[in-house]
């Protein structure tokens, strides 16, 4: 049963859900775009504040959820990403002719799902958190369904994600039938006592398929570029950041908590997938001319790098994963943020073709600068956040002697640099006659502009002086006690 300590620990999740309900009631009473956005942002900020209180109260464990440092990290990442996405949504949806408010409701539901997911220590919450994270995304992706691409991306994501869920569930059922337990720790402790087992291994493999789909690990990655390209900017951003971060953290928790996952063969498979993912992701992006697709491919590659932390799974692995994740989130939010700010749903497709960005610098220097910084960071150039993350990953791989993976990271980075650079150069070209798409003039005044600018500054600040974040991360990811 739930005690008051449990309720206390659940406050952040409850606050987000309550905000969602408030937004729903608001829609029923009177539609007001700005107010809805404001309420949502307020609710998320409250949740962030309450998160700090929960954190200072110490670890709490309910039957299904655990509120430890890793969950805190996950929740902070999910909430912060959602906050950024919401802020961009306001700028994005301002000109949308249809109903705008439902988008916030859906995003809040998804955020709640993400928060549950990162804190889950039981298959039931893992499964339902994941679904609560995905279900609203179908709606968000197909939100501007008048645009065929948006509808297409919604349908693709629905069908494939449901199939992935079926894989996940079947895997869970197999694990359950072997051990008779559903909580992650007990489930795997039970496995140990029964001497491991073929069912459990197969179950773990199927779960890997389900979760690998959400993280777009090769060969479960094919949906990624299409869905990113078609979905409205904020939805694609959310999918690339909050959703992936939450899924990755739960995977991290499973690998960390469960000794049964230290089966060598599982590691071999994971390592193979990681190598494949980083190479294929980068190769696919090579000559891509659509920025959103390119970012999609690049996110595939980045999760390939991140998987290295799971393959190594000891020493500094958790800290490394945390650092890489945070650099990835900052950078991706910034890059997608620029795309979102340049797009508007009532002028057709999002501005994502590369030629929209030709000479962007000469029209929107700050926006172009933000995008440049983000691309540099994605490429892992020193003195940006991305470099710190990549450095940690490479150091981890070297320390563990996983030379193949280190080689893959290096090869991937070389390819990566090529296409990031190509985009960067495009931003600075001067092309008379060709008028790209402009963001509304006063974007700088708008919250979305402030957010992306802040993100870019963060990326640089973290790259030049990363110590505070690293210290913070090493505290948050220190072993669960």
């Amino acid at each position: 049963m739930l005690t008051s300590a449990h309720m206390m620990a659940l406050t952040p999740v409850i606050l987000v859900c309550a905000t969602a309900v408030t937004v729903m009631l608001g829609i029923a009473w009177r539609r007001q775009h700005a107010a809805t956005a404001l309420v949502s942002i307020l609710g998320l900020n409250l949740a962030l504040v309450s998160l700090y209180l929960v954190y200072s109260a110490g670890d709490v464990s309910t039957p299904l959820l655990v509120f430890d440092r890793l969950s805190m990290l996950g929740m902070v990442l999910v909430l912060a990403s959602t906050l950024a996405c919401l802020t961009m949504s306001h700028a994005y949806l301002e000109g949308y002719p249809g109903r705008k408010e439902e988008f916030y409701l859906l995003m809040l539901c998804a955020a709640a799902g993400g928060m549950v997911l990162v804190a889950s220590q039981h298959l039931a919450t893992l499964f339902f958190g994941l679904e609560l994270l995905s279900m609203p995304l179908y709606g968000m992706l197909a939100y501007t369904y008048r645009d065929k691409r948006s509808l297409e991306s919604g349908i693709k994501y629905l069908v494939l994600s449901a199939a992935a869920t079926a894989f996940l569930l079947f895997g869970m059922a197999l694990l359950y039938s072997q051990s008779g337990r559903l909580d992650i720790a007990g489930l795997l402790a039970g496995l140990e006592s029964s001497g491991g087992g073929a069912w459990a291994l197969a179950g773990a493999g199927l779960m890997l398929v389900g979760l690998g789909f959400k993280l777009s690990i090769v060969p479960f990655h094919l949906w990624t570029p299409d869905v990113y390209q078609g979905g409205p900017g904020p939805a694609a951003t959310f999918l690339a950041t909050a959703s992936k971060a939450a899924v990755f953290i739960v995977l991290l928790r499973i690998v960390m908590v469960a000794p049964a996952f230290h089966v060598e063969w599982l590691h071999t498979v994971l390592g193979g997938l990681a190598l494949l993912t980083m190479i294929v992701g980068n190769l696919l992006a090579l000559i891509q001319t659509n920025l959103k697709r390119l970012l999609g491919y690049s996110s595939i590659a980045h999760f390939g790098y991140l998987l290295v932390a799971l393959v190594v799974a000891d020493g500094l692995a958790v800290e490394t994963a945390g650092i890489y994740l945070i650099t990835y989130l900052m950078t991706t939010l910034g890059a997608f943020g620029v795309v979102t700010l340049l797009s508007s749903p009532y002028s057709g497709e999002d501005a994502s073709a590369l030629h929209h960005y030709r000479g962007l610098f000469w029209r929107r220097p700050y926006l172009a600068a933000v995008l440049t910084v983000c691309l540099l960071s994605l490429a892992g150039i020193p003195f940006t956040a991305g470099f710190i993350g990549k450095f940690y990953i490479v150091a981890l791989g070297v320390e563990a002697g996983r030379w193949w993976l280190v080689g893959g990271i290096i090869a991937g980075s070389v390819i990566g640099l090529y296409y990031y650079l190509r985009v960067m150069v495009t931003l600075y070209l001067v092309e008379p006659g060709m008028r790209g798409r402009d963001a509304p003039d006063n974007w700088g005044m708008k919250a979305g502009g402030v957010v992306v600018l802040g993100l870019a500054l963060l990326v640089i600040a973290f790259g030049v002086y990363p110590t505070p974040v690293i210290d913070w991360m090493s505290v948050l990811t220190s072993p669960v006690h």
């Binding site: 729903m24 002719p97 109903r99 439902e102 409701l105 039931a124 939100y143 073929a198 197969a202």
Partner: protein
Amino acid sequence: MELAFYLSGLVAVLATLGVVTGTNAVHALLYLIVSLIAVAIVFFALGAPFAGALEIIVYAGAIMVLFVFVVMILNLGQGAAEQERIWLKAQTWVGPSILAAVLLGVLVITLWRGNTGLVIEGETLTAKAVGATLFGPWIIVVELAAMLLLAALVTASHVGRLPSATSGEHSGGDQ
């Protein structure tokens, strides 16, 4: 009890095959309902009558009715079945079927080899026990289910709107 399990299991498999190979949507739906009822009987045979009842009420009763409604709304005629037949050429289905069969083979081998020796006695697990679990330690998940359904509802109502007011791609009005 074993007989009921194996027999209804066979029915379920056959009916499901009928679903994925069918060309007429309504017929396929009927097959699916048969399959679901057969699975429900499996549940009864295994000693999970509550789940069996839910399978019939929610799955066969509610979800399938939703499907039927939609198929009726779209009012696909004879041409649709013809189209299905054209789409279901051998080169379309052989490859995927082999792939699925390989996956099934691996799964079956794994299941066979990893046999835990547990046998289902058919002890009935009552709805009370299930309820005690759900509304005891699992209460959070039930709340989450509410959120999930809310999200699904909002999505369906937003996306599924028929274009009563809109007449074209360029029309702005949606109210």
